[in-house]
């Protein structure tokens, strides 16, 4: 797994994908920080991350579109599949590499925190909690997009599918309040990946959201592994 992790991290920065993701993310968070914190004169970070929660669905597809689709397109997937590595090693290696890039991007985001500390008195615990919450949300987004990348061999199709899935998950949250039927409302609430976010990023630590995001990520990584395994022995290769 470490071999794939290392290879993918290197690939992120030897191709432009890592930089494009960081670029888009930092540009959008810059705009969000300027409007919410600087112009709105607020010292909390969760408002800014709340804006990013919706905006960043355009950035995550870039992070993962290449991961599995490109391997299939260039025929290198078989090189990996017939090697000593297990499918779990391959998929997990790629997933963790994407998370690493997300982590580095959030670290770069800390420049805003430094600005807040210079001009205001924010609570460090709340800020760390907000970022941890966003990282968990990002981990779920990445897992969904990784799954989309396993479905196709075309990077553009992979990106569009990822975007569509994320968009649906974000939209579904706002639908929840308009649905009258209690059962349906509950189901939609469970599926709405961003609804747990509020609590987590306000610095209120509960196990609920943590378990929610972890299980969401694990479920999609598991599905990705199954899709790749199934295709390995599918009739048309």
């Amino acid at each position: 797994m470490l071999i794939i992790l290392k290879k993918e991290i290197r690939a992120y920065f030897s191709t432009s994908f890592g930089f494009i993701f960081m670029g888009i993310f930092l540009l959008m968070s810059g705009i969000a920080f300027t409007t919410y914190n600087l112009l709105g004169r607020r010292s909390d970070i969760y408002g800014m991350l709340g804006i990013m929660r919706t905006l960043s669905i355009t950035a995550f597809p870039v992070l993962t579109m290449r991961l599995l689709a490109e391997e299939r397109h260039s025929g290198t997937d078989h090189l990996l599949l017939t090697s000593r590595l297990s499918v779990t090693d391959i998929v997990l290696g790629k997933y963790l590499a994407a998370l690493f890039v997300l982590f580095v991007t959030l670290l770069a985001n800390c420049v805003y925190v430094a600005i807040l500390f210079l001009y205001a008195e924010p609570t460090l615990g709340a800020i760390l909690g907000s970022y941890a919450g966003f990282f968990l949300l990002g981990a779920s987004f990445t897992a969904i997009c990784l799954f989309a990348s396993a479905l196709t061999e075309n990077q553009v199709t992979s990106a569009i599918t990822s975007f569509g899935m994320l968009f649906a998950l974000v939209i579904i949250g706002s639908l929840a309040n308009t649905v009258r039927l209690p059962v349906l409302r509950d189901i939609i609430r469970v599926l709405s990946v961003t609804s747990e976010f509020e609590e987590l990023t306000r610095g209120i630590f509960r196990f609920g959201p943590l378990v929610y995001y972890l299980s969401f990520s694990i479920a999609f990584v598991f599905l990705t592994i199954k899709v790749v395994e199934k295709r390995r022995w599918s009739p048309n290769g």
């Binding site: 290879k7 191709t15 260039s74 025929g75 090189l79 017939t82 090697s83 000593r84 009739p235 290769g237």
Partner: protein, 321 residues
């Protein structure tokens, strides 16, 4: 070493390959030959574990590719038609990666990567990005990838495609050298290539085995006819009459482009029954008419003709061979 058993592959309704059965012995270089779309690549992909068969199986060194895929594919180095390369990696970096995922021990990787690069002559481009390499170099890096873990079996799908004549010769020599200690299965649509490199051939046509034998036997022809060339000093019509009268001759046709036609010579290509005494009878008949024989020599059936016969006239791309 490799047993291919009753292998069939269907793509929906379409037959990819059907009832393929052959074995490859240890240390043998075997060629798969066939026109485009005859199933060479399908068979090789199944052998390398890239594609599941619809029926039948492949046994590699006692390990079934379906029930023990890791053990079976671990013994195989495979070079697909399009080499599986990462364009963003440098050559040495890529080979290190391949060595790592194929289980070459950490301490031996440097040595192994160095050796392999020397073998396929890519050491001079070790620090260049694969993206920027020429097709010939990419092909060689692909070959290095197949050899990196020093597998006892190499499966090479059209290894010389896209190379220039000098590189083709080099790769052929390399394959011949590799074949001294390894089992090699090689596919090609170029007759000259398999004829030169392989000891045994499987000729495929429309997904089935059309013939399987040693290269020499296939080249000596499957038909029961022999063939020879005759040049005499006489008018073609007169010679034709003599040929028609001699027993054991099946057919003959005049050669149109005869260099010495102005000297009154004419030439014929003659098909005769094998084991008949057509040549002796013909000499006697010609001598009886007082026609001098300038030249009479056997013209063996070529591998290409055998191939055309077997594949029903669908020509291999021999123009570039």
């Amino acid at each position: 070493m490799i047993q291919v058993k009753n292998l069939s592959k269907y793509y929906g309704e379409k037959i990819g390959v059907q009832d393929i059965d052959f074995t490859v012995a240890r240390g043998e270089i075997m060629g798969l030959l066939g026109p485009n779309g005859s199933g060479k690549t399908t068979i090789m992909k199944i052998m390398a574990g890239h594609l599941p068969p619809s029926a039948g199986t492949v046994i590699v060194d006692g390990h079934d590719i379906l029930t023990a895929p890791k053990e079976a594919t671990g013994r195989i180095g495979f070079l697909p038609e399009a080499p599986p390369l990462y364009p963003e990696m440098k050559v040495a970096e890529y080979l290190h990666f391949c060595a790592a995922i194929k289980g070459v021990q950490r301490g031996r990787r440097n040595e192994r990567v160095g050796q392999t690069m020397e073998m396929v002559s890519v050491a001079s481009v070790r620090d260049r990005l694969i993206r920027n390499l020429s097709k010939g170099y990419k092909q060689r890096v692909g070959l290095a990838q197949a050899m990196i873990s020093d597998p006892p079996i190499l499966i090479l799908d059209e290894p010389t495609v896209g190379l220039d004549p000098k590189q083709i010769t080099e790769v052929r020599q390399l394959i011949a050298r590799l074949g001294q200690e390894r089992t090699v299965v090689l596919s090609s649509h170029m007759l000259a290539e398999v004829g030169m490199v392989c000891r045994r051939l499987v000729i495929l046509n429309k997904g089935r085995i059309a013939a399987m034998d040693t290269t020499e036997k296939l080249a000596s022809g499957i038909a029961d006819t022999g063939r020879f060339l005759l040049t005499v000093k006489a008018a073609p019509e007169e010679t034709g009459q003599v040929l028609a009268s001699v027993g054991g001759i099946r057919s003959f046709r005049p050669l149109e482009a005869v260099p010495q036609a102005n000297k009154g010579y004419c030439s014929f290509v003659i098909e005769n029954d094998k084991n008949s005494e057509a040549r002796e009878n013909l000499s006697r008949a010609l001598a009886g008419r007082g026609i001098p024989i300038i030249e009479m020599r056997s013209a063996g059936v070529t591998l290409e003709e055998t191939f055309l016969q077997l594949t029903g006239g669908s020509s291999p791309e021999s123009a570039d061979s």
